[in-house]
């Protein structure tokens, strides 16, 4: 309730009180709306559009970014995200099943993995995998520095997705497993044909979220170092912004991120609605 004062003791008045309160609510709502409009107007009016335009949107600099910002940088962002997502999904599935295993060492191993890679900052993981691991184990990851960075991203994504997938598996009712087992299906067949299809339907929204987070986390790959052809959007735009002494490339990169993420989230929202109708 918006105001806590007791209603005035009007004898005829249960009705009158209700009427007054609605009117008051209407005023409050109008007030909020007026405040919102005022803030927008003040910000728009107070901003120095002239200077903003000069620092963030110079048409000729924006034009210079094309086509490289799309065919190299945006393409690389999409490719790194896809690798990290598919790899993370695969790892996540394995660790989710290990964490639900009846065999204790599997559970321990999965728990340790998930806690480490979920607990560490992604930047640190990428750095470690990119530089420390090749020195320590003499491993050379294909794709060089960026390749190693992407492996780090896969490990981080796998830890997050393992927990999502585990929750999805556990939310499939126990009766589903019992029905499948009593039809003679083996445990692995039951998991594959009955549990996972239902679990994945439930976790499409959190997995989409994970995908969008990964798109943005690819910007952390700069720590692994990159050549001209392996730069992703943020690294590319930062370099160009420094070279031009102007922030326009960052704005272009920002728009391109949205060009990637917004259609994706719209698509998934549409899929969910369609699926909701089908059930």
């Amino acid at each position: 309730m918006i105001d806590g004062r007791p209603a005035p003791p009007a004898p005829a008045g249960h009705r009158r009180t209700l009427v007054r309160r609605t009117t008051r609510q209407r005023f409050v709502r109008l007030g909020f709306y007026a405040l919102f409009v005022a803030i927008v107007v003040v910000v728009v009016a107070a901003a120095d559009w002239e200077r903003l335009g000069r620092s963030f949107f110079r048409w000729e600099i924006a034009q210079e970014q094309f086509p490289d910002i799309v065919v190299i940088a945006a393409k690389n962002t999409v490719v790194y995200t896809a690798i990290a997502f598919v790899g993370g999904l695969f790892l996540g599935l394995i660790f989710a099943i290990m964490k639900l295993s009846t065999i204790l060492p599997y559970r321990w191993f999965a728990t340790v993995y998930i806690e480490i890679f979920r607990g560490l900052p992604a930047l640190l993981t990428i750095f470690t995998i990119a530089f420390v691991l090749p020195i320590a184990l003499g491993v050379r990851v294909p794709g060089g520095a960026v390749g190693a960075g992407v492996v780090g991203l896969v490990l981080v994504a796998g830890a997050y997705m393992a927990e999502t997938i585990r929750a999805g598996i556990q939310s499939v009712p126990k009766g589903q497993v019992e029905a499948a087992r009593s039809l003679g299906m083996s445990p692995s067949r039951t998991m594959l044909s009955i549990v996972l299809p239902q679990a994945f339907r439930l976790i499409v929204p959190p997995l989409t979220n994970e995908f969008v987070l990964l798109i943005k986390d690819t910007s952390l790959l700069y720590i692994a170092g990159s050549s001209i052809t392996t730069k992703e959007l943020t690294t590319f735009a930062r370099g160009e912004a420094a070279a031009a002494s102007n922030a326009t490339p960052l704005l272009v990169a920002g728009v391109l991120y949205l060009v990637i993420t917004v259609p994706l989230t719209r698509l998934v929202a549409w899929l969910e609605r369609r699926q909701g109708r089908a059930r």
Partner: protein
Amino acid sequence: MTTAQTSKPSDPAIEVVGLRKSFGENEVLCGIDFRVDAGEVVCVIGPSGSGKSTLLRCVNMLERATVGSVTIEGIDILDPDTDIDAVRAKIGMVFQSFNLFPHLNVLRNLTIAQQRVLGRSKDEAERVARHNLERVGLDEKEQAYPAHLSGGQQQRVAIARALSMDPDMMLFDEPTSALDPELVGEVLAVMRSLAAEGMTMMVVTHEMGFAREVADRVVFMDAGLIVEQGAPDDVLGKPTHPRTREFLARVLDPTHVPVSEAPDDVRGGFPLPDREDSTPPKLDEHGH
């Protein structure tokens, strides 16, 4: 399955000997000897918590017996060398909550295990599935998803799904308890026709009318033990054990609370309030 364990026609369909089952400290089955012969229809009745569903679930190893033996057509299912999946494929199971696969349509619900477990071709599996959908009167629903069916229809699909595996016997775990009253009849009708076809059936149920009409034998369980069993007319009509009488009186008349006449072992030490008599208060005197 080991070669030593080939079943003979003389073996009972289900044989349970000295079965005990505990969940932690709580012993749910306290020594059960029980058998179902091929072609026999056995209804298991009893109050909730008596262990009848647990007994049924021990028969296809959804619960593992703590002590005792469970033998299906001569095969010891508690033997670690027994391929339990192969045994389960021969035992149809129908659950209280249907447990259809919600992500698959009706036809796929019926074909998936035929293909994955029995190795049937898609065409053969669909032919068997359609035949069984016809048996339960739902041949028009093969493309529907479970969520679009009524409870009674879902349970009939679940029966058809179990039948599609060509089982040697069927287990029913309170198959009508989750149904709206007006939908119970259609499921019982399907079960009745199954029994008439000679299917071996073990049915845990609260449907006394069905038990009386269809069962070859009725088993009454209470507190983890089989208290009384025999022909339906005997167990349901003239029960010899006071606990059976008490249970039947309560099932047939839910308002019946014969505390004063109940023997001590039924009261089980619970501090029930003493009553003058068991007749409900006469409301008419107060004009209600």
